[in-house]
């Protein structure tokens, strides 16, 4: 498909470096699916969907910086929804999010709660100023917050929140956040990797499974079409948590 024109109808500042953009168009998306977002004249970048009609963006580089310059009435080009999102399984689920990784999990938590699934969420953030979507997670179920600086909830990483839960109690565990956080959680769930679904981040260029830039060693998984949500057991023994490649294809 060619990019669709997505006119911005609302901009919400979630934190100083995170904004949600709502569009005039809605997406028929499964939580965890993504859009290739064309910031005209700048670049095209993958963004996970945080609302049926919105994305939540952290200012990290040139393209996301340019998104912060946009106003209501401006538009972005969007291709998608693309890829495979989260699959809802079981009666009790655990969501573990880090930073802006909370975005697709909020949509997932709402979808799960609407189906009567019991939802518990652990959100790991640097400090209380980085908390996003508190009401959405609390509306879906229990919320445990961890902060690196101890300004709210449990002091420590998201994994510190895991120690107060019995992971055997959950039918499925959903992850989205910094790669090292997710790799750490998978590492702590020895034997339960098959019930983990992780949304992973790689350098996506085509979003169509043909350019190879997001390929994961050693099997050559293509997260842009086979993911971005990939089952934990498929990530064990891969490059995940160890290295990734930059735009030239060189490891870094």
């Amino acid at each position: 498909m060619r990019p669709k024109d997505a006119v911005i109808t609302e901009i919400v500042s979630e934190t100083p470096s995170v904004r949600t953009l709502r569009f005039e168009i809605t997406f028929d998306a499964v939580p965890g699916q993504y859009l290739m977002v064309w910031v005209r004249g700048v670049d095209e970048v993958p963004m996970s969907i945080s609302y049926k009609n919105g994305i939540t963006v952290q200012k990290v580089g040139e393209a996301t910086g340019a998104i912060f310059d946009l106003k209501v009435g401006d538009s972005l080009g969007v291709r998608g929804p693309l890829g495979n999102g989260f699959t809802l399984l079981g009666e009790r689920i655990l969501l573990v999010g880090g930073g802006v990784g909370a975005a697709p999990l909020a949509l997932l938590g709402e979808a799960a709660a609407a189906k009567g699934i019991e939802v518990t969420t652990i959100l790991g953030i640097r400090g209380c100023d980085d908390l996003i979507f508190r009401e959405r997670f609390e509306g879906a179920g229990d919320l445990v917050i961890t902060t690196d600086d101890g300004s709210m909830g449990i002091c420590g990483r998201a994994s510190a929140g895991l120690s107060c839960l019995d992971l055997e109690d959950y039918d499925q565990i959903y992850l989205c956040g910094p790669e090292l956080m997710m790799a750490d959680v998978i590492g702590r769930c020895g034997g339960m990797e098959a019930k983990i679904q992780a949304s992973i981040d790689r350098y996506f260029k085509c979003g169509l499974g043909i350019c190879g830039s997001c390929s994961i060693d050693p099997e050559g998984i293509r997260p842009c079409v086979e993911g971005p949500v990939i089952r934990g057991d498929r990530l064990v023994g891969t490059e995940f948590g160890r290295y990734k490649r930059g735009p030239s294809g060189r490891k870094r």
């Binding site: 043909i210 350019c211 190879g212 030239s248």
Partner: protein, 289 residues
Amino acid sequence: MDNPVMLAAGILGTTGASLKRAVLSGAGAVVTKSVGVAEREGHRGPAVVQVEGGLLNAMGLPNPSYRHFQEEIDIGRDGGAPVIASIFGSSPAEFVEVATGLEADGFELNLSCPHAERYGAEIGCEVFNVEVITRAVKESASVPVWVKLTPNVAEISALGLAAERGGADAIVAINTLRAMAIDVESCRPILGNRFGGLSGPAIKPVAVKCVYDLAGAVKIPVIGVGGVSSWEDACEMIIAGARGVQVGTALGNAEGYGIFRSISEGLSIYLDRKGMALQELVGAARRFP
């Protein structure tokens, strides 16, 4: 080569893992993404967009430079099929530097990428350059050298003959057709590079004609590429004169890597049904002058 179905250059060939996966999925040989002298990040996005009948791309030759690519070739070779390194440069000396810096089962000279300044088709549209660059690499390499040609010229056979004079072991045709798509809401060209190359089903009839013309003009083998998405497409290329086919854009179809097996199996069933060997099918369309 028993299995004539290969992975085309530029598709999934960034990593050894992808190359190996293509081989394990049934590719008879794989061609890497093009590598050059220096590391390049490629053009800004959008780098690829779906259009009527195929894909439009301007990746911009992203590559880690040949200095960081041997490991990927070696991993690809673990699959057990030949790995052909696609290489590019802006001069005979650059091509030779890359070719002598890599160990592969063959080289495919990218004289045809339509959207990178100073590279690919910008030099590969001139017969003199094709001949000189082919000869230079041929003199420095001990493995087969294939030359991939651009269709964006008046007479592709002239380029094929130049490659043959330079000593090429095979011709690969075709690379993408120069093309463009514009977003009507913003009036902007969609690709970050503004224009790029068209691939996929839309260009298959163009590729068939180029293969037919080349096979009639040169004595060395021609490998057909451009819009091959099914065994019938592969068959058509072979009947036009191709000794092998490469598959690219169709890897983005729902069956993904499964395309290699479905094409080679379909081809086998066809040959059995006709009671023919692959060799007999090559250029069969010439019986009808």
